[in-house]
Amino acid sequence: MKNNLIVSGSPHIHKQESISRIMWTVVLSIIPAGIAGIIIFGLDALWVTLAAVIAALLTEALFEIWTKKKITVMDGSAVITGILLAYNLPSNVPLWLPVVGAVFSIAIGKQVFGGLGQNIFNPALVGRVFLMASWPKYMTTFVKPLSYDAVTSATPLAVLKEGKILEHISYLDLFLGKRGGCIGEVCILALLIGAAILLYKGYISWHIPATYILTTAVFTYIFGAKQLFHGDWLFHILNGGLILGAFFMATDYVATPLTAKGQIIFGIGCGLLTAIIRLWGGYPEGASYAILMMNAATPFIDRYTKNRIYGTK
């Protein structure tokens, strides 16, 4: 007879969840966006992604061997960093660029702080911003979608920033990803499929993505045009790295606030900064800078949004 009266210490409810399981699920959920990127920009997108992932894994392994720490290559977090970094690059970059970016992401963005769980910034974004500051030439020339050769085109946001008249792209095309841009950010449909998996599994909560996107929408609606309350908010949501950032990078467990209240503040902050950079800043797109700046503010937010411990004042 099975003995149901086992005496044991807490916790009594176990789940199958673990860091590596969550991380690999996230990897799975961002793959659709990559496939869409390969369809839109050709096989170059695949090589860039593979280069970034392999470089990220090697850097993590070498750094952990060098510092004599436990090798955590198989927990999937380095794979995510590599993929997310590649998703933030144009598909026509020389292959050493994602490699340098991934090495920087893992070594400087993550391992020098002490590895997974210690980093204060999202490693993939650290890598992207480093590349952006170092080789802006490569980071801002994009391939024309579905052309499969070296025809370059600007992103709709960059065209808007230069004040030129936009050739009209329908919202449906923007939603499906028929525009110039980074590998993983263009196909909103594929990103939403991945986001739905994560939300369904409960691996991310709605607080950050919802408040982030909503704040950007409201702000660009109010201030996005010459006249107040005439901005094209849907255009701003469907363009740039907003959706990729909101669901996959602003929800990084390590570098974002712990409580729901804190996450809402974080999301609103990201949304405001993104909209401000897009409308009045020097760069056409500000999602990566917005998320990094809010990452820096996270310890501060956490301090002021502590949950009240039950039974105390």
Binding site: I108, V112, F130, A133, S134, W135, P136
Partner: protein, 197 residues
């Protein structure tokens, strides 16, 4: 004599003003864009350090304790003015590229720090060697940082291109690159120190 040599060498490695005492980071961050700037700044600061250490050590018994800091500042400012005017007269190019950071040596914490922590308590000879050692240490640190930054940021050392086909990493020519390089070097030297003990 052995003591004096020790006073000199401690500034170079054991108490290096940049990497161990972590003083004077503001000019270090700002001027370390190119090796030429680094050397110029290092020599200017060494001259001021030497002069102020000497004078402070000479007058240390006459300065009332309460107003010692203003007195040090006056002495330091004198030497900084000499440096600045000489630089303007004899190497205007360097003066233009260092800009405001030459007059700012007045408030460089290495100079004031040595006056306050060493020269006002020690005799002339030790103060001289202390100032010289600190100056040389500062100059070497500046050369190291600016060599890394100039090479990575523009692919050159002292204006000469080293490799063809190297794509410069612009970020190292910017202030964020200075913070990165100094942070990593600090970490590296701490690692070496910890390994030794």
């Amino acid at each position: 004599m052995k003591n004096l040599i020790k006073e000199f060498t401690k500034g170079i490695i054991r108490e290096n003003p940049t990497f161990v005492l972590v003083l004077g980071l503001c000019p270090t961050l700002a001027v370390s864009v190119s090796v030429a700037n680094g050397i110029g700044m290092g020599i200017a600061a060494t001259f001021v350090l030497l002069g102020s250490s000497l004078i402070v050590s000479l007058v240390r018994d006459f300065i009332p304790d309460k107003i010692r800091i203003p007195c040090y500042i006056v002495i330091i400012a004198t030497f900084v003015t000499i440096t600045e005017l000489c630089m303007k007269a004899y190497s205007p190019v360097l003066d233009r590229s260092l800009g405001i950071y030459v007059p700012l040596i007045v408030v460089n914490c290495i100079v004031l720090g040595r006056a306050e922590a060493f020269a006002c308590k020690n005799n002339l000879a030790s103060s001289f060697y202390d100032g010289l050692g600190m100056g040389v240490g500062f100059t070497l640190a500046l050369i190291l940082i600016s060599a890394i930054r100039e090479f990575l940021g523009s692919g050159q050392i002292l204006g000469h291109t080293l490799f063809k086909g190297f794509e410069p990493v612009f970020v190292f020519g910017m202030p964020s690159g200075a913070l990165l390089v100094i942070g990593l070097l600090l970490g590296f030297f701490n690692l070496l120190k910890n390994r030794k003990t």
